[in-house]
Symmetry: C2
Subunit: 547 residues, 2 copies
């Protein structure tokens, strides 16, 4: 209080900068003073340390409104160490993936990781574990399971409610989850009109799944907070940025949802979203407002999002608003210097299946078969039919490969299927990131290679493996089979190395991305699970060969 009144010096002052004011979307000048990690204000202040910011701009620390940290393939600590360099000081994370693998234990792990993170991680409790009854992984979390976490430090609300049919049918278990906490994120791709009204009536408040301007406008008008997404697989900024105006900006934020470590390292995080939005014609001031105060307000975080008296001194020094290059980052008033890697705590084993027998990959049958068809750049698939004989797989001519799913939670027969579109001439890949049950999934040009790839993943307690006749590369994901305990630089290097190996297989780019969605039963049309082929439209298991 004395420091705010100027009777004793501040810890640090920032002089000669233009300081972003998100309340007016303008720039203030003056000396910004900080003490004990808190902003004292802008005014006539002296400080123990002086940070001259002549010609620079200061903005509040950036906020990601919705992210699955697991998708970065990094542990929370490494994720934080990476994104803080890009100006991010708060993320709102939904530990949906690890909860599907390890239930409450997974959520506890993520909560515990907050203590050592270089950023403030707040969690939304995963509302859909499993995503559907056809996707049971390592856990089922009902409302009572989630209730144990309400009120815990770091828990903000209920994460994206993806079970739209359940919401619309007023499923009591879902209603109970929604009633747990007042802050509730939605997830309603394409939902419109009266069904959207009903979804909102149930109490969901936000959406990060809009892909068209009309969809975002309708949702915004109906009172939803809109998180405009830019992730590794979904990029919606260009389509949606026209909805952001001075009148609507308080209801719009950025989210990255799913972002791999390499994208984060090479192109940035929320700073990347701001740059993209500016490139799409949005005023920098509105883009910065989205990434700061708007996100803070949506989540009731009144202690951040603006550099005004009493709020956290989370801030970034940038070169200029249009270029938006992050130069220095301060969290709680202390500069983030390059942080050393800390060895990460191991996660209890989650891969509890034996290595499959070499002959476990055999299929038999002949005639018309159901073949999953990849769609370039999309996670939807096509349901194809090919006349084939089991003995003729792989069919390199027609690009039909075998795909295998190995239940990672218990000994069980493999689920086997056929897929068109990978285009591999030779090789196999396997991974333990496989939405949403996160079993081990593999595709390849021979049973032997598939077997080797799966074995490699199992031995590492999870990972992404690429196997050629004489070469093998593994990114171990030893933390729940989802995240690596390696330093982020090493993870990125191994992702590049994996890409080099898969390039030699021929075929599509980013095959691991397609692989990780092949088992996702909620998206049409044809999938493969640990039980075998699955028809997404009819929502049922079906035989590989049509009888």
């Amino acid at each position: 209080m004395d420091a705010a009144r100027g009777t004793i010096p501040a810890d640090r002052i920032f002089t000669n900068a233009s300081i972003f004011n998100p309340f007016t979307c303008t720039w203030d000048t003056g000396t910004l003073a900080v003490k004990n990690g808190i902003v004292l204000g802008i005014g006539d202040y002296t400080g123990t340390e002086v940070c001259d910011c002549s010609g620079k701009y200061i903005v509040p620390g950036l906020i990601d409104a919705h992210v699955h940290i697991e998708s970065s393939l990094l542990t929370p600590a490494e994720y934080a160490r990476l994104v803080v360099r890009h100006g991010t000081t708060t993320v709102i994370a939904d530990p949906h993936e690890i909860a599907n693998v390890a239930g409450a234990t997974g959520i506890e792990y993520m909560l515990k990781a907050r203590a050592h993170a270089a950023i403030d991680i707040r969690y939304m409790l995963p509302s859909c574990v499993p995503a559907t009854p056809a996707d049971v992984g390592g856990a089922v979390l009902d409302a009572d399971d989630l209730r144990r976490f309400t009120g815990r430090p770091g828990v903000l609300g209920l994460g994206e409610m993806m079970n739209v049919p359940g919401v619309l049918a007023a499923d009591p278990g879902i209603a109970e989850k929604i009633s747990l906490m007042p802050i509730r994120d939605g997830h309603a791709p394409g939902l419109a009109g009266r069904d959207l009204n009903a979804y909102l009536l149930a109490g969901l408040q936000s959406d990060h799944e809009c892909t068209t301007r009309a969809e975002a406008e309708e949702k915004l008008k109906k009172g939803m907070y809109i998180f405009i997404r830019d992730g590794s697989t979904e990029q919606n900024i260009e389509a949606l940025i026209p909805v952001v105006t001075p009148a609507t900006v308080s209801r719009c934020s950025f989210a990255t949802d799913d972002c791999h470590a390499d994208l984060l390292m090479e192109e940035g995080h929320i700073d990347r979203c701001i740059k993209k939005a500016i490139a799409c014609g949005l005023a920098p001031e509105l883009a910065i407002r989205m990434a700061t105060l708007s996100a803070a307000e949506r989540f009731g975080l009144a202690d951040r999002g603006a550099l005004v008296p009493g709020r956290r001194a989370d801030l970034c020094i940038i070169d200029d608003p249009d270029r938006f290059e992050i130069q220095r980052v301060f969290r709680n008033g202390i500069e983030i210097t390059p942080l050393p890697y800390s060895p990460q705590q191991p996660f209890p084993p989650t891969i509890r299946c034996p290595i499959p027998a070499p002959d476990a990959f055999r299929i038999s049958g002949t005639g018309p078969a159901r073949v999953i068809g990849l769609v370039p750049g999309q996670i939807v698939t096509e349901s194809l039919r090919y006349d084939c004989s089991a003995d003729e797989i792989p069919d390199r001519e027609r690009d039909i490969l075998k795909v295998a799913v190995c239940n990672r939670y218990r000994p069980a027969p493999l689920g086997l299927g056929l897929v068109h579109g990978f285009g591999f001439r030779d090789g196999a890949i396997a991974g333990s990131v496989s939405h949403d049950a996160h079993n081990i999934i593999a595709v390849g040009t021979s049973d032997a290679l598939i077997h080797r790839a799966i074995e490699s993943v199992i031995r590492a307690q999870g990972g992404m493996a690429a196997v050629l006749e004489n070469e093998e590369m593994l990114l171990p994901l030893d933390c729940a089979g989802l995240m690596s305990t390696l330093p982020y630089q090493e993870v990125v290097d191994r992702l590049h190395a994996l890409r080099e190996v898969t390039k030699k297989m021929g075929g599509i780019e980013n095959p691991f991305m397609y692989l990780s969605f092949l088992a996702l039963t909620v998206i049409p049309a044809l999938r493969v699970t640990d039980r075998g082929v699955f028809e997404g439209v009819a929502f049922r298991d079906v035989p590989l060969f049509i009888e």
Copy 2:
């Protein structure tokens, strides 16, 4: 849920209207459907009742962000019955006045009154009872007294923190009050720069005391919610409306603070604020946003402020946005028809003093005397000096009248003083509304008339009395000496009648307004309390005659 999806009919639909959307500050068209008091949404709906709104506009119910209901001179029920006609469906009220008179009992009374009110009344707990140690009325409320009310239905947060010096001095009792609840209204007239920073650092969040554009801009930029005020004594819309833009409107609301029943009845409530703002050049859409969603968001009332799925169907039908004439009002989906007056619960007696003896008004002394000087149109006073003799009062020539303050809470000697500026030729007025201790205060041209006026107020358990030789008019304020249990129409009639009587006295307009602030020790320069003359600058009791 079924109704939202359109599978069963709504209770009521509003067809063919333009419906205000506060998220975009635009107008939507379509059929608005309501069921069980909740908005289902806009869409293709059928309803049991159809309200054709061709050519009309619908806006959400209006919200007053800061009001002292007691200042209306009406009980909460009568206040609600009056303002709901003007489109108000929610008020955020601070029962500061009744708490100064009756402490926790007063707050309980106001909370109880919520049940029968035609609008939703939410309370901010009065933070400054008494306003200063020099102003002790019927109660002292410390943090523990307030804590009993936290979490009670209808209690939203901590009311305007007026003790700016105490906040800046980090007074522990004040800090404890601030820490009670996360929503805290401020009150910091003229505070700026580093002192304002310190005030905000303490945790205050809003201000309704701005009188200049520069003051409002500074406070807005520093993160305060700005309530632009239009009351019986303070009118700030014209000066402040330029700060409201599409970028800032989410942080700006309207407040009436103190509004007498006659102004409310004759010129309206928040609808009056909107009209005035439009007349000052503000776009109607921004003015309506202020009065609806912005106020709801400031107080975390996520269930109102917009006509979107899941929110309360509090709404007004208006003729057009520019004229903003309220035509019909619905609360929780039900139309407000002219409501009958219900006899009001009496309040326990708060006037516990005897009627003063006729000779209790005598003053003695001669020489230079301290005389309170009224300032037209202001509540500040001047500290004047006149050479006079006690025997020569009233001095009509120099307009020096006697003023008497009678402690209403216990038998005690009268406080006596002299005042210049009322200009009465003949007559006396007395009132039990006397900020903030609310003792009985009277001024008049003879001891006998003053005595009659005070007697009239005491016999009625509070009121406003105007007494001439052969005429007398009383507005009884039997509810804590602040509010009348009469119907609002009757209260307004008596206010008019009082004005007729005071006109006959000659002198200034609205003498009761000046009278009610004569004892307010926090405002300079000279005051009179139940102890006698009080110097506001030195903040101490002083003798009437300078020795």
